[in-house]
């Protein structure tokens, strides 16, 4: 398995111009993704994870958002490429699946037509019969029972989990190098969630593709990802492997997230642990570390200086926190063992 870098994001910033002021949704985000790997991005609503994802396909409305930095997909910078080049990348190099499979499919056309349409747009030489054959194969691969019959049915005739399988079929029909999954399981039942994650893992091996998995669910991250970015207020606050995140988290926000996870073993019958306060307004981020108003360990420097990402610990994690490394590691292990 080659491990070439298929997606390289450098200093990505996205600013939305709204009547209330400029919203910095994504601030100086950089990461690399190699084929066959899964990168999880976690964070609360408004942390910038979905905007980061849609920037990769340049889906943000260009009249209200200005995007800077660079996003390299097989050597092409998506942010500066012309429209036809971006259109070629969409669907064929980088595909995307969305949160709500109920609304992600066009209700007016059969699922077969929608999958074939995605194939035909990137294979203009193919005939409709070819497209139908490829579509049938794809439906089998994503586990739709009785595909010969169901190919001609409409989205409303499928259950939520089946529709997400259809969306995955659309995404994978062109054998993309990168799959962006924006909360792919959030709208589904727990049992169906596991099936979809398993399906994505199997197909990832088969197609040797890289996955960007965006979620607010740490359980999904633990299940499916290799590396994790933790985002807060539009910035990356921690980057680590999944093992490191769950054994030695290196940012107070990650500690809070882990503390808020409810597990079967948790003893108390009391209230779920939450992170005090609410996510910051992206129009007026607090000065310094944007997490400082909600952080129990904040000091004066946290209110004045933005912490930079630095290596912490022995597991290759990086974190943006002003606490001394020793404190981070001991507090992190404590948070992980809770």
């Amino acid at each position: 398995m080659s491990n070439e870098v298929v997606l390289s994001v450098r200093n990505l910033s996205v600013v939305f111009h709204t009547p209330d002021g400029d919203v910095v949704a994504v601030n100086d985000v950089s990461f690399d993704l190699r084929s066959g790997e899964t990168l999880g991005i976690v964070g609360e609503s408004g942390s910038g994870k979905s905007v980061t994802a849609s920037s990769i396909l340049r889906l943000n409305n260009s009249s209200t958002a200005s995007t800077t930095g660079s996003i390299l997909v097989s050597g092409v910078d998506v942010l500066s490429a012309d429209e036809s080049e971006v259109r070629r990348i969409r669907g064929s190099e980088v595909a995307m699946i969305f949160q709500d499979p109920l609304s992600a499919l066009n209700p007016y056309y059969t699922v077969g037509k929608q999958i074939a349409e995605a194939y035909l747009v990137h294979h203009p030489e193919a005939s409709k019969a070819d497209a139908r054959k490829v579509t049938l194969e794809m439906l089998k691969k994503v586990g739709i029972p009785n595909p010969e019959k169901r190919i001609d049915e409409f989205p409303h005739q499928f259950s939520g989990g089946m529709r997400q399988r259809i969306v995955i079929a659309i995404a994978l029909i062109n054998n993309p190098k990168v799959l962006i999954a924006d909360e792919p399981t959030t709208a589904l039942d727990v049992t169906v969630q596991a099936q979809i994650l398993d399906l994505m893992k199997d197909l990832q091996v088969e197609f040797n593709m890289a996955i960007v998995l965006i979620t607010h669910d740490l359980g999904v991250i633990a299940e499916a990802a290799l590396d994790v970015l933790v985002m807060y207020g539009g910035r990356i606050v921690e980057r680590s492997t999944v093992e490191a995140l769950f054994s030695e988290p290196t940012h107070p926000y990650a500690w809070g997230l882990l503390g808020a996870v409810n597990s079967l073993e948790s003893s108390g019958r009391g209230a779920l642990v939450t992170i005090a306060g609410s996510p910051p307004s992206l129009i007026a981020l607090p000065p310094g570390c944007s997490f400082n108003p909600r952080c129990s360990y904040s000091s004066d420097i946290c209110r004045t200086e933005i912490p930079l990402l630095r290596a912490v610990g022995t597991q290759g994690s990086v974190a943006a926190c002003h606490l001394p490394e020793g404190d981070i590691l001991s507090l992190g292990r404590k948070a992980a063992s809770r």
Binding site: G91, Y108, E117, V121, F154
Partner: protein, 329 residues
């Protein structure tokens, strides 16, 4: 699907029956004596009495209604002997104001209304949908604002005002077109066009306004749908996305309302026909109201009702084709 259509048509017929009953009874309750209206001011009592018997107004109301219904299917004979005459099926009664079978009168006036309606309809769909699409694609820019000004003007100004204004400025003041005088398109096509162009435009522009708004809002709403985002993420061209994803969704409510609007127009564009003196069904209805010519009113009401009920059935059927989610298996 077939059973669905059969059921819809069955209920449509029931509905029309109810409409005919209430219309007939309503007009029969007007405080005027139809027999006395048959022969103007210097009517002799014996003529009134003879006409009453001849036109069947001596019978009970229910019996009159029954004869009316029967006439629709079997035609109807009036009077006996030398004064006898008949209106063939489908007979909608006899106009004592114009001394003519109502069906004949409608057959004379309906084509005018139909030409007016079809021309105006085609124009207003073209104007409405294209200006709405332009507004949606340039949301917030000057095209959008122009469309919204057009919409407010079109929605708020009544036909008789705009109609008279256009008639005055184009025909009387600028003298670009001659005063409208209707000719059948098969007799004198250029005159027909010269007469129809203004009423078409007036009707189209005013009706187009609400379609502009409908198209604009429908498209903007559709553009926010997740499935449109997925279409973009697939790498589809803007043209395909607009046609298969955005317009497809925006068209559903447009078709519904267009069907009903068109049917309503076929019942007679009363004001437009009067302003531009077109001898259509609307103008005939106005005259019938003034003259208390009850059979004509019942007849035109029935024709309008048939079109509206029919349009409803057609829209329901079209819906099944437009939106697979409401398709009946």
């Amino acid at each position: 699907m077939f059973m669905f259509i059969v059921r819809r048509i069955f209920f449509a017929v029931l509905l029309l029956l109810a409409v005919s009953f209430f219309t007939y009874m309503l007009f029969a309750m007007l405080p005027s004596d139809p027999a006395a209206l048959t022969c103007g001011k210097n009517c002799k009592p014996d003529v009134i009495a003879a006409n009453r018997i001849r036109l069947g107004y001596d019978k009970s109301l229910m019996e009159q209604y029954w004869l009316f219904l029967k006439g629709i299917f079997a035609g109807r004979d009036y009077g006996t002997g030398a004064a006898a005459f008949s209106c063939g099926a489908p007979s909608l009664g006899y106009s004592f104001g114009q001394h003519e079978c109502v069906t004949t009168l409608i057959a004379q006036t309906f084509p005018v209304t139909a030409y007016l309606s079809i021309g105006a309809f085609v124009l207003w769909m073209l104007i409405g949908i294209s200006s709405g699409a332009v507004a949606a694609l340039h949301k917030g820019k000057w095209q959008d604002r122009a469309a919204s000004i057009f919409t407010s003007i079109g929605v708020s100004l009544p036909t008789f005002y705009i109609g008279l204004l256009v008639l005055f400025s184009v025909v009387i003041w600028l003298q670009i077109l001659p005063f409208p005088s209707y000719e059948s398109p098969f007799v004198n096509f250029p005159t027909f066009l010269r007469t129809m162009i203004l009423p078409w435009l007036v009707l189209a522009v005013l009706s187009a306004a609400s379609y502009t708004r409908l198209t604009r809002n429908g498209m903007l709403e559709a553009m926010n749908e997740d499935f449109v985002r997925l279409g973009v993420a697939k790498g589809l061209t803007t043209r395909i996305i607009l046609r298969r994803y955005v317009m497809r969704q925006a068209l559903v409510p447009i078709v519904t309302i267009a069907g009903l609007d068109f049917a309503g127009l076929l019942g007679g564009a009363i004001i437009t026909e009067s302003v531009f003196s077109l001898p259509g069904m609307g103008k005939m209805s106005i005259r019938a109201v003034v003259e208390s010519d009850l059979p004509v009113l019942v007849g035109t009401t029935m024709v309008a009702a048939v079109f509206i009920v029919l349009a409803n059935v057609l829209v329901d059927i079209a819906y099944g084709y437009l939106d697979p989610r409401v398709r009946v298996k």
